[in-house]
């Protein structure tokens, strides 16, 4: 942690890269879901671009987008569930 000198302002912030905790593998639980959702969203994007280029049919592009939306909502619901459970435990009276 560097000292902030008022006359110099704050140095540019470096982008934060998420780091995997040592000893964990990408196959564990939620990370895998996030990976899956990310892949589905990317695929939907590619299909939309493909439709714009005339390589992919309209129905394929729309249905890929629809599928991505559903997958994303599943992930969000699971995340909310997990967070709710965490908060429940956090609020336990000791």
């Amino acid at each position: 942690m560097s000292v902030v000198i008022p006359s110099q302002g704050i140095a540019d912030l470096a982008p934060i890269t998420p780091q995997r905790a040592s000893g964990t593998t990408p196959t564990n639980g939620f990370e895998q879901i996030v990976q899956q959702v990310s892949d589905t969203l990317k695929n939907a994007d590619q299909m939309a671009a493909g439709y714009a280029q005339g390589k992919v049919g309209l129905t394929d592009a729309v249905l890929a987008s629809e599928k991505a939306d559903t997958t994303f909502q599943v992930a969000m619901a699971i995340r909310n569930r997990a967070l709710a459970a965490y908060q429940e435990i956090e609020n336990l009276q000791v």
């Binding site: 049919g57 129905t59 394929d60 249905l63 629809e66 599928k67 559903t70 909502q73 599943v74 619901a77 699971i78 909310n80 569930r81």
Partner: protein
Amino acid sequence: MGLDSIIGIANSALGAQSQRITLIAQNLANVDSINSPDGGPYQRRIPVFEPAQVGNSDGLGVKLAEVVTDQTPPRAVYDPSNPFADESGVVKEPAVNPVYEMVDMMQASRSYQANLSVVQTANAAALKTIDLLK
């Protein structure tokens, strides 16, 4: 996965009906084509569909198996001034009936909508299931 299978199957049907409408468009466009590349008047094209495996889904989707030509003899129209008329002044015009084509198009359109409804139902069911988590 169930939802994927349903949407995949419905998607194959949407594609098949689009191809059917494409052929109807072709038939209607060529209603007056008296000189086709393969000689003689244009022959009406008819799609033949067959069940087909879609991806790794549970059920069978549909695909366009082949496009056959309608063997109905061409309409004979008397028009001696036409350069394509034979020695008795008769021109052979395509045996395409626009009324049939329009009816076929309505069927294709309804079928397309029916399959869109399948997609909607599958999606609504999936979203309702997700609501269980909320």
